[in-house]
C-alpha cells in the first residue's frame, strides 16, 4: 500500500496531519479534537444541516462549517473562540425551539431524575418521560457540551401524530431535528430509497413519498435509520424504554450463512438491541432485518424453556439436569446404531458441531449424522454443498461487470450481498435477476425475469447459449419472445466481461427443479468461468463440513490444504437417510424439522423454544442460544467468526456441547472430556491450525459421490422461511411475521 500524502493543518494551535480529501471535522475527529455536530456521521456524505460545527478559518469569510470544508495545506482553524461558541449556542437555541426540551431545561429536573424514573400505569406523577432516548441522546450530549443551560424561545410542539403502524420501530417526528442522517443512510448506504424529505421549510418531515406506510414503500426494515438517528425520533419498539445500555458485545449473527458482525447492547440480563458494525470487514455494517430486529424478541421469547422437562401422562414435568441426563442416557443405552436417528442443526456453533459428531460416532456408533439440509436438498445435497462450500467472497461482486442473481432477494435477508450487487449495478455492471417473484434487485436490473422456478434452468441455458452466440433452441421460444432483445444486449456485456458473478439465493433450495438448475449453474461456473456466490440459510454449513458433522466425512477431511487436493469420495448410500423407517429414538439437536421425521418411540428435543407440531417431545433439554454462548461459526465466505456470550444463559439452560458431553459421561462412552469451550477449541486446533484465531478463509475440497443417490421420497420441502434452530422467526418475532405475510 502506498502511503497517502498528508497535509499539515493547525487546529487550535495544534498542528496535525490530515489527508487531502478530508473535511476539517474528519481530521479533527481523528485527533480527538471535539467539534460538536449532529448531522455529520462517519460513512455518510457531508450534509451541513445542523450548523453546529462552525469554526473560524484564517482567510475564509465568516464561519464555515467544518463538516463541509475540505482541509487545505497550512489551514489555520480555531474551534473554540468566543464568537464560535456564541454562534453555536444561538443555533442550538433555534434548533431546540421546535424540539421538546424539558429533559434539558426544567427546574424540576434534578428531583425528576431522582424520584420519577419509572413508567407506571398508576395515578401518580411519574415525570415527563415522553422521550425514549433520554440519557442516550446525542442532542442532550451536545447541549451539555455546548454549555446551553437556558433558551430564549418558547418551545413549539409540532404535534405530529406518532407513527406506530409499521413493525419494529416507532417514529415520533416531533423529536426529529431533520439532520437527514436517516435519509442519507437509506438512500446512499443501503441503496434502498424508502425515506425522503416531504414538504419543505418548517413543515418538512421525513418518510416515504406519497405518505405510504414504510412496509408498502419497500422498506427493508434494516434499521440503519434507527441506528443513525441522534434523537428519540426513531426508536425500536421492543427496547425503546430500556434506557442506557450497560454493556455491549461484538458477536456474529447466527441467522444465516453471511456471518454479519453485530454489536449486542445489553443490560445485566437482557439483550436489548443489536446494532450494525460499520467497521466490520465482513458486511461493513450492512445487516438485515433479522439481525437488527430479530434477535431480542427471539432470545427473550416468553416461550423459552428454562428447565429440562419430561413428558408424563399428566403433561410436562420440570426435572433437574441430573434426572434429564440420566433419562437421556438410559434411553440411548443399548440401542443399535440403526435404531436411533440423531439430527444436528447446521445452525449450531462450530464447537457444538464438533462435539455432536463425536457424540454420534463414539456414543451410538453410527455414521448417520443427519441434518435438516440433507432432508431439504435430498438427492441434490452433494452438488449444492460443492457449490456452497466453494462460494466466492462477497467482495467478488464489487468489481463484477456482469451479475446474474438466481432465486435471490435481499429485502429481508442477505443484505451485504444484495447491497453489493446494487452498488455494482449503479457503477455500471449489467445486472440480471431471475426469480419467481419480483425481487428488490429488479429496479436496478437490465432484465428482471419473473418466471416459475421450473424455467430457471432454461433461462440459464439460454443465457449461456447467447453468450456463445449459439442458436436458440425451441424450448426457449417464449423466453426469447418476451425478453429477446434485452437479453441479447445483456449477454453481449456478459460475454465481453472477464468478471461475471452468479449470485445463488435460497430460492433454488425451495425449487423442485433444483437438480436441473444446479447443473446449469455448474456449467456456467466451469464452462463460462462465472464466479459463484451462494447465499443460504444454513448458518454454519461450512463449520459442519469442517468438523465432519456429516455422514461419511471425518473431522478435517474436507479442509483443503493445497490446490491439488483431490475430492473426497463419498458412497451414495451414506448420504441417503431413510426417513420412512421407524426408529426407537430420535434425538433432535437444535433442529425441529418434524415434517420430515419418521415415527419413533421416544423423542428427545434439545432446543430453546417449543416446536410447531403435533408430536410432543418426550424429553426436553433447554439450551442456551448464541447470545448466551461463546464459540465460532464458519461463514459462507469461509471466515472463522467469533460468537461471544453477551448475557448469562437463560434460567437453567445449557450449551449444546455441555448436554452432549454430560450424556456421554453418564453413559460412560466416548472420550469427551471437555470442561469449557476453549478445551473443545484446543481439540479443533488439531484439525484447523491456529483455531479459533484463523485469519485466512477456509477452503474446502469437493465431494464426489460414488453410486446412485436414492431420494428419501418425502416430497418437496415446505417453502422456506427464515428460521433459527428449526423455529421460523415469524413465529417468535412479531414484526417478522408481519413482513413475511406481506412478502408472501
Amino acid at each position: 500500500m502506498t502511503k497517502e500524502k498528508t497535509i499539515q493543518i493547525t487546529i487550535d494551535n495544534k498542528t496535525i496531519d490530515a489527508r487531502p480529501n478530508q473535511t476539517i471535522l474528519q481530521a479533527a475527529r481523528e485527533y480527538q479534537i471535539y467539534i460538536p455536530s449532529l448531522c455529520a456521521m462517519e460513512h455518510l456524505s457531508s450534509y451541513g444541516a445542523c450548523r453546529l460545527c462552525v469554526v473560524e478559518v484564517d482567510g475564509l469569510r465568516g464561519f464555515p462549517t467544518s463538516c463541509t470544508t475540505p482541509v487545505e495545506e497550512g489551514m489555520v482553524i480555531r474551534t473554540d473562540t468566543a464568537e464560535v461558541k456564541g454562534l453555536r449556542q444561538e443555533v442550538l437555541k433555534l434548533l431546540l425551539s421546535e424540539h421538546p426540551a424539558s429533559c434539558l431545561f426544567c427546574t424540576e429536573q434534578d428531583e425528576c431524575k431522582q424520584y420519577m424514573g419509572t413508567i407506571r400505569k398508576v395515578g401518580a406523577t411519574t415525570g415527563c418521560r415522553y422521550c425514549p432516548n433520554d440519557h442516550r441522546c446525542e442532542l442532550q450530549q451536545i447541549a451539555e457540551n455546548i454549555g446551553l443551560t437556558e433558551t430564549s424561545y418558547p418551545v413549539y410542539y409540532r404535534n405530529f401524530p406518532v407513527e406506530k403502524y409499521d413493525p419494529f420501530y416507532d417514529r415520533d417526528y416531533n423529536l426529529c431535528i431533520l439532520c437527514g442522517r436517516c435519509v442519507r443512510v437509506c438512500n446512499n448506504v443501503r441503496l434502498n430509497g424508502t425515506l425522503s424529505f416531504k414538504q419543505r421549510g418548517r413543515v418538512t418531515t421525513i418518510g416515504p413519498a406519497f405518505d405510504r406506510s414504510h412496509i408498502d414503500a419497500g422498506c427493508e426494515f434494516c434499521g440503519a435509520c434507527v441506528t443513525a438517528c441522534p434523537t428519540g425520533a426513531l426508536s425500536v419498539k421492543v427496547s425503546k424504554w430500556y434506557g442506557r445500555p450497560e454493556g455491549q458485545v461484538a458477536t456474529t449473527c447466527n441467522y444465516c450463512s453471511a456471518g454479519c458482525r453485530l454489536i449486542l447492547q445489553t443490560t445485566k440480563t437482557d439483550v436489548i438491541d443489536a446494532l450494525p458494525d460499520y467497521d466490520s470487514a465482513v458486511e461493513h455494517g450492512i445487516i438485515c432485518v433479522k439481525g437488527r430486529f430479530g434477535i431480542t424478541e427471539y432470545v427473550h421469547s416468553p416461550l423459552r424453556y428454562g428447565t429440562p422437562k419430561e413428558m408424563t401422562p399428566a403433561g410436562y414435568n420440570d426435572i433437574s439436569w441430573e434426572e434429564a441426563i440420566a433419562k437421556a442416557a438410559g434411553k440411548l443405552s443399548g440401542l443399535k446404531p440403526d435404531d436411533c436417528l440423531i439430527v444436528v442443526s447446521p445452525q449450531l456453533l462450530t464447537e457444538d458441531l464438533f462435539v455432536a459428531q463425536q457424540f454420534i460416532r463414539q456414543v451410538t456408533g453410527s455414521e448417520e449424522v443427519a441434518s435438516s439440509f440433507i432432508f431439504d436438498l435430498d438427492g441434490d445435497a452433494a452438488s449444492f454443498i460443492n457449490l456452497a462450500l466453494a462460494s466466492e467472497p462477497f467482495e467478488t461482486i464489487e468489481k463484477a461487470q456482469g451479475i446474474l442473481a438466481v432465486g435471490f432477494d435481499s429485502t429481508y435477508g442477505y443484505s451485504p450481498i444484495g447491497v453489493k450487487a446494487k452498488q455494482a449495478a449503479q457503477a455500471g455492471a449489467s445486472l440480471m435477476s431471475l426469480n419467481s417473484f419480483e425481487s428488490n434487485l429488479d429496479l436496478l436490473s437490465k432484465i428482471a425475469f419473473v418466471v416459475n422456478s421450473s424455467r430457471w434452468a432454461d433461462v440459464l441455458d439460454l443465457t449461456m447459449s447467447r453468450m456463445s452466440k449459439g442458436k436458440a433452441e425451441k424450448r426457449f421460444a417464449d423466453l426469447v419472445e418476451m425478453w429477446g432483445s434485452d437479453l441479447n444486449k445483456t449477454c453481449e456485456t456478459f460475454s465481453c466481461s472477464s468478471h461475471n458473478v452468479l449470485i445463488v439465493g435460497p430460492g433454488i433450495i425451495d425449487s423442485p427443479d433444483r437438480g436441473k438448475i444446479l447443473r446449469s449453474i455448474e456449467r456456467m461456473k466451469n464452462e463460462y468461468s462465472w464466479k459463484v456466490v451462494v447465499a443460504h440459510q444454513y448458518t454454519n454449513l461450512a463449520g459442519m463440513f469442517a468438523m465432519g458433522a456429516c455422514p461419511g466425512i471425518k473431522p478435517g477431511e474436507m479442509i483443503k490444504e493445497a490446490s491439488a487436493d483431490k475430492a473426497v469420495v463419498l458412497k451414495a448410500e451414506l448420504i441417503h437417510i431413510d426417513l420412512r423407517k421407524k426408529r426407537k429414538l430420535i434425538y433432535l439437536i437444535g433442529d425441529a424439522s418434524f415434517d420430515s421425521l419418521p415415527e419413533c418411540e421416544f423423542l428427545i428435543y434439545q432446543n430453546a423454544l417449543p416446536p410447531q407440531c403435533s408430536r410432543q417431545p418426550d424429553l426436553i433439554l433447554p439450551v442456551s442460544l448464541f447470545t448466551e454462548a461463546s464459540g465460532t461459526v464458519i461463514s459462507a465466505e469461509g471466515r472463522v467468526l467469533q460468537v461471544k456470550e453477551a448475557v448469562a444463559p437463560y434460567m437453567d439452560s445449557k450449551p449444546d456441547w455441555w448436554i452432549l458431553k454430560s450424556i456421554a459421561e453418564k453413559m460412560g462412552k466416548g472420550k469427551m472430556k471437555f470442561n469449557d469451550v476453549s478445551s473443545i477449541q484446543g481439540e479443533i486446533k488439531k484439525i484447523i491450525k491456529g483455531f479459533p484465531a484463523v485469519k485466512k478463509r477456509i477452503e474446502f475440497k469437493e465431494i464426489e459421490v460414488k453410486g446412485n443417490v436414492k431420494t428419501h421420497g418425502k416430497g418437496k420441502p415446505a417453502a422456506w422461511k427464515s428460521s433459527y434452530r428449526g423455529i421460523p422467526l415469524g413465529e417468535v418475532v412479531s414484526g417478522i411475521k408481519v413482513i413475511e405475510l406481506k412478502g408472501g
Partner: protein
C-alpha cells in the same frame, strides 16, 4: 413587398395576455379589414415594451404613439380615428410614456432616453420570428466568435468588459468563465438560470418573452468560450409564454443550423434543452437549481465544490443569469471598450430594473449602471403615483434592502450599494409612498422567507419561523422592545450560520428596515 403606411405593434407578454391582448388583436385585425385598411396598416406582435399594469398596450408607428388599457370595445374608435382619419385617440394615449425604445431618436417629452443593450429588441421585433432577430444584427456575435476568435479571446473580451453577473451577487462573469475554461473535463455544461423568483422582479421574463434568441446567442458564445457541450435553460414553470417562446426559438435556431452539430459549419457543436422549475425560490440558488435539474429535491449543495468544478451530474458547469447572457452578444459584436463606455468604472454596462409599487409607470427600465435611485424612480418611473411623497424603496427583491428618502441620491450599482449595506440584487425596485406601513412591509417579506425556506439547515428553517412570530407580534402591537433586538440577533445568527444565501440574506431587509424606519417599529412596541 407591400409597403404599409402604419405599423401597429401589440405587446404580447404574460401581463398583456392576462389583460386580453389576444382579443384586442383579433378585434384590431377585423376592424382594419372592415375599414379596408389591410393593405396600408399591418399589425405586428412584439414582446413587452416594458410597461406593466396598464392593460393591453399598442404602439403605432411611425408616430411612436403609445396606447394603454386598450379593450376590444375601444378598437373601432381607435382604428377609425387614428388609422383612418389620422387623429390620435387622446383618451387612450399613455401620457406618462417614458422614452423606452431606441426606435426614434427625437425627444418626445420630459424623459430621457434609455440606453438599451439588453432590451434592444424588446418591444420592437417579433420575438417568434428568427429572421427579425437576424435582421436586427442577431447571431452576428456567434458568427464573429466562430470565425475570428479563440475561446481564450472570448473569455478575455468578457473579462475586459467588466461585466458583472446580473443574477444578484454581481460576480465577475469573465472570471467565472475563466475558471470554467481552466477546469479540465470532456463534458461541460452551460446553464441559464431563468428561475426568476425574487419578488418584484420580472426582467428575465420580459427578456425571454421579448427576445429569446438573444439568450440563445449568449449561451452559444458561453458554450464556445468554455468548451461546453450542452446548454440548459432552467426556467420557472409559471412562465408559460417564456417557455413557449424560448422553445420555439430553439427549434428555429436548430433549423437554421445555429444549434446542433457543427454550428455555422465550424467544429463547434452545442445544443440547448429547456427544463421547467416547480416554483421554489431556493432553486434560483445555483446549486439547488442543479439538484432540481438532476431531478432531485431542490436543496442547495455544499460549496466547495463549486458548480464550475463539479456541477450538473458532477461535470464542470457554468451557471449564468438570463440578463448576463443577454449582454454577451452585444459585447462581442461591439467590443469590450464600447461596453465599458456605459456605466461606472467598477461596474460597466447597463442594468435592467423593474420598478413597481407606488410609481406612476411601473415597468421595465434599462439604464446605465450608477444611475441614481432618484432618476430611476422620478424620471423613468414617472415619480410617485397620485402626487404622494416618496417614503422608501425595497431594492433587490425580498433578499434586498430598504432604502430611506435620504438614500435617493445613491448610485445604483453592485459596488456602490454594498458600501451602504444594501445590494443591487436582481434590480427590483419596490417603491413605497408616505402611506406605507413599514412594519407590514417587513412582515410580508419575512413571511415570504418562512414560506420559501427549503428546510435544509437549522438557522434558516427555524430562524425564519421565529422571525415571523416576532414580526407578527410587533405588527399587532403585542411585542416588547427586546423583541426588536431579538429580531436583529436572529438575522445575525442566520447570516453567520445559514447554509445558503437564502438564509444569509434575511439580515438585509431586517437591518435596513430598522435602520431607516426604526421609529415606526419602536412605536409598536412597549418597553
Amino acid at each position: 413587398m407591400n409597403i404599409v403606411r402604419n405599423h401597429v405593434l401589440i405587446s404580447i407578454d404574460a401581463g398583456t395576455l392576462m389583460s386580453g391582448a389576444r382579443a384586442v388583436e383579433d378585434a384590431l385585425v377585423k376592424e382594419i379589414v372592415k375599414q379596408g385598411l389591410d393593405k396600408e396598416v399591418s399589425v405586428l406582435e412584439t414582446g413587452s415594451i416594458g410597461i406593466t399594469g396598464r392593460g393591453v398596450i399598442l404602439v403605432v408607428y411611425p408616430e411612436g404613439i403609445y396606447y394603454a388599457d386598450v379593450t376590444p370595445d375601444d378598437v373601432p374608435e381607435l382604428v377609425e380615428e387614428h388609422l383612418l382619419k389620422g387623429r390620435p385617440l387622446t383618451r387612450l394615449i399613455l401620457t406618462e410614456t417614458p422614452k423606452r425604445t431606441i426606435i426614434t431618436k427625437e425627444k418626445t417629452g420630459l424623459l430621457k432616453e434609455q440606453p438599451r443593450i439588453v432590451l434592444k429588441n424588446c418591444g420592437f421585433i417579433d420575438p417568434e420570428n428568427i429572421d427579425e432577430y437576424i435582421a436586427a444584427g442577431g447571431y452576428e456575435g456567434i458568427a464573429k466568435v466562430l470565425q475570428t476568435m479563440t475561446s481564450e479571446d472570448v473569455v478575455a473580451e468578457i473579462k475586459s468588459s467588466g461585466l458583472l453577473g446580473r443574477g444578484g451577487a454581481g460576480f465577475p462573469t469573465g472570471m467565472k468563465w475563466d475558471f470554467a475554461i481552466k477546469t479540465p473535463g470532456d463534458e461541460k455544461f452551460v446553464i441559464c438560470n431563468a428561475d426568476e423568483g425574487e419578488p418584484g422582479t420580472f426582467k428575465d421574463r420580459l427578456i425571454l418573452e421579448g427576445d429569446p434568441h438573444k439568450l440563445i446567442e449568449g449561451m452559444l458564445i458561453a458554450g464556445y468560450a468554455i468548451h461546453g457541450t450542452r446548454g440548459f435553460v432552467y426556467i420557472r414553470g409559471e412562465y408559460s409564454l417564456s417557455i413557449e417562446r424560448i422553445e420555439k426559438a430553439i427549434l428555429d435556431a436548430r433549423a437554421y443550423g445555429l444549434l446542433g452539430k457543427n454550428i455555422l459549419e465550424s467544429n463547434f457543436s452545442f445544443d440547448i434543452v429547456v427544463m421547467k422549475g416547480a416554483g421554489a425560490y431556493v432553486c434560483g440558488e445555483e446549486t439547488a437549481l442543479i439538484e432540481s435539474l438532476e431531478g432531485k429535491r431542490g436543496h442547495p449543495r455544499n460549496k466547495p465544490p463549486f458548480p464550475i468544478n463539479a456541477g450538473l451530474w458532477g461535470k464542470p458547469t457554468l451557471v449564468n443569469n438570463v440578463e448576463t447572457l443577454a449582454n454577451i452578444s452585444e459585447i462581442i459584436r461591439n467590443g469590450a471598450e464600447w461596453y465599458k463606455g456605459y456605466g461606472t468604472e467598477k461596474c460597466s454596462g447597463t442594468k435592467v430594473f423593474t420598478i413597481l409599487g407606488h410609481v406612476a409607470t411601473p415597468g421595465l427600465v434599462e439604464t446605465e449602471m450608477g444611475t441614481t435611485l432618484k432618476d430611476i424612480i422620478f424620471e423613468y418611473g414617472g415619480g410617485i403615483k397620485n402626487g404622494k411623497t416618496f417614503k422608501g424603496a425595497l431594492v433587490g427583491g425580498a433578499a434586498g434592502a430598504f432604502l430611506g428618502p435620504d438614500m435617493l441620491n445613491v448610485k445604483m450599482d453592485f459596488v456602490n450599494l454594498k458600501e451602504y449595506s444594501a445590494a443591487l440584487g436582481s434590480g427590483a425596485i419596490l417603491v413605497m409612498n408616505e402611506d406605507t406601513d413599514m412594519v407590514d412591509m417587513l412582515k410580508s417579506v419575512l413571511h415570504f422567507f418562512k414560506h420559501e425556506s427549503c428546510g435544509h439547515c437549522v438557522p434558516c428553517r427555524l430562524g425564519t419561523a421565529r422571525l415571523v412570530e416576532l414580526i407578527d407580534d410587533i405588527a399587532a402591537s403585542k411585542a416588547k422592545k427586546e423583541d426588536i433586538d431579538q429580531l436583529l440577533e436572529i438575522t445575525r445568527v442566520m447570516k453567520d450560520s445559514s447554509f445558503c444565501p437564502l438564509g444569509q440574506s434575511v439580515t438585509l431587509p431586517v437591518s435596513s428596515a430598522l435602520k431607516y424606519f426604526k421609529n415606526e417599529f419602536m412605536s409598536r412596541v412597549t418597553s
